[in-house]
Amino acid sequence: MIPTNTVLAAPSSGGASLTQGLGAVGLSSLAAAGFIVLIIAIRNRSKLTRKYVEDRRYLAGLAAVIGVLFTIAGGTWRMIAQGTHDLATSTLTDPNIVAGVSPAGIALILTTLAFLPEWQKRLPPAFFGLGAGVSWGVAGAFWGILFKVIGAMLEKLA
């Protein structure tokens, strides 16, 4: 075997490379860190998170990115994110009330609810943002492009 083939076929988490931002952190650790960061950002007591995610829209964006991170991290993190997404989805689109909602429609509704209203409390935009991050991956197509771009960045980071 030619050693170069082995090197090329090796997974990117095997060794340090230029495409890795944080080295051997891994997606699971990144998801755990993102979970903690999201809770701190929702509480809004930290000066640092208040500097960057004081705005509710930025908080929703952070929650969406962390939703994508949970989804691509897999395992329990994915279960948590999927549960949040399903909770929001089943609340908003009860089949007894709204019938025939496509996954893209759910993504549209969740993204609208996360980013458009002038939220006063901090939990709803984080909740809908987390669900929106998952729903982008469920919907595919244009939402999937968004999901893939964010996921590729996170995978490069981890």
Binding site: L108, L116, P117, G137, V138, A141, F142, I145
Partner: protein
């Protein structure tokens, strides 16, 4: 805030109260320059004097040494009155002021007019009294109240005459209503924090006073007269305490109309536009494009680049520098356009696989995603350019331009091709 000057009878003009009848004072002989011709119209003269007063107040003619009318001299503190003017003795004026105008006022009803006449007559006769010499100073320099106005004077006349005579009377400062500047600058313990200048005055009985901070931005409605008349009588000795005005004044924001939030405005505008696009069938037409993105993207990119090349060639061949080198005139320009468009089409079709390869390698999007992105960007870009062109138009124009963009965005958002996770 400005009404207490009018409801207090002690500070009202002494003149109009006591002179219900016609004028009894003999008028001087009218010179050629008097207002004798217009004398029948009393209001006209009053208006003239009022305008003169206003002009003096605006331009400050007395301070600049300009021409002085007699109306100026009425309010000039350094003016020694002419003997013809015959000012009332101060005691009589004070008594008239105390009695609320019941005593016959010494000032005639049309004193300003007579003053004008006298001034003109004096100037004609040449017996000019030297001004500024304090020898014949027989009256206080500035009378406490200007000469009275007729009883049937209109409201604007009373208001304008009441305003400048805000000099403090002889009594205590509480006896006379001071001007608003007195509250600001004369009270040593004025409340300068809130800039209202109010001294919180509480009646001597010690009864608690409720100070309420009004939150309405509307000016205060003046109270009915009977309440204003009964209140000082009930207070008894503390006559000067009229009504405790709020010390703390909360500056309220302006009156807010009800306006939907940004969320509902955006939703309504774009939602109705998308609904209109769906109603006219634009939705069904545009929704054909995203599923056919893989086959359509190459041709779309080629068409876009052909269009861009054609436009570029048309402009370049028509420019001043390159036009002499284009053969066959307009026909050669047209040929250059077609040539450039064909080159652009070929380049665009060859451009997509290369682009999608690069994107797939570095960004992580598949070729299908790149094609979809090209199609979506073309749809939304073309309709967004329309929105951008009409961004300064009216509401209807912007809404009509928004219809294709909202429809395209809705089509792109509602297209799903299976989960990617």
């Amino acid at each position: 805030m400005a009404e207490p000057n009018r409801e207090d009878p002690r500070t009202s003009c002494p003149g109009p109260g006591g002179q219900p009848g016609p004028r009894t004072q003999a008028r001087p002989a009218a010179g050629p320059l008097t207002c004798h011709d217009a004398d029948h119209n009393e209001k006209f003269i009053q208006m003239l004097i009022h305008l003169a007063l206003q002009g003096e107040r605006i331009t400050g003619a007395s301070e600049e040494g300009g021409t002085m009318t007699s109306a100026d001299e009425q309010s000039d503190p350094f003016h020694t009155p002419l003997p013809d003017e015959a000012p009332p003795p101060p005691a009589a004026a004070e008594a008239a002021g105390r009695d609320g105008g019941q005593a016959p006022a010494p000032a005639p009803a049309d004193a300003p007019v007579d003053g004008v006449d006298a001034q003109v007559n004096t100037m004609e006769e040449g017996t000019q009294t030297p001004r500024g010499s304090g020898a014949e100073r027989v009256a206080p320099p500035m009378p406490a109240s200007p000469p009275g106005t007729p009883e049937n004077a209109p409201e604007w006349w009373r208001g304008s005459r009441d305003e400048p005579k805000s000099a403090p009377a002889a009594g205590s400062p509480r006896e006379s209503k001071p001007g608003w500047w007195d509250r600001l600058y004369k009270d040593q313990d004025a409340d300068l924090d809130t800039y209202t200048g109010h001294v919180l005055t509480v009646p001597a009985d010690g009864e608690p006073v409720l100070i309420e901070a009004r939150k309405d931005s509307e000016p205060e409605v003046p109270e009915p007269d009977e309440a204003a008349a009964e209140e000082p009588a009930a207070r008894g000795p503390a006559l000067g305490v009229h009504r405790p005005q709020p010390t703390l004044r909360i500056r309220t924001p302006t009156v807010k109309r009800w306006r939907p939030t940004r969320f509902w405005r955006v939703i309504t505008f774009n939602g109705t536009a998308a609904a209109a696009g769906s109603a006219i069938g634009l939705n069904a037409y545009l929704s054909q494009f995203p599923p056919a993105a893989v086959t359509a993207a190459g041709g779309l990119l080629g068409a876009g680049m052909a269009l861009a090349g054609g436009v570029t060639a048309w402009k370049a061949a028509g420019s001043d520098k390159l036009a002499p080198f284009v053969p066959f005139g307009a026909l050669g320009r047209l040929g250059a356009v077609f040539l450039s468009a064909e080159v652009g089409r070929q380049l665009g079709q060859a451009f997509l696989p290369h682009t999608s390869d690069t994107v797939a390698r570095y960004v992580g999007l598949s070729q299908t995603d790149t094609s979809l992105l090209v199609v979506g960007l073309t749809m939304c870009g073309a309709s967004g350019w329309l929105v951008w062109r009409t961004r300064y138009g009216g509401l209807l124009k912007r809404w009509l331009a928004r219809v294709p963009l909202a429809t395209s965005l809705l089509v792109c958002a509602l297209y799903s091709s299976g989960p990617v996770i």
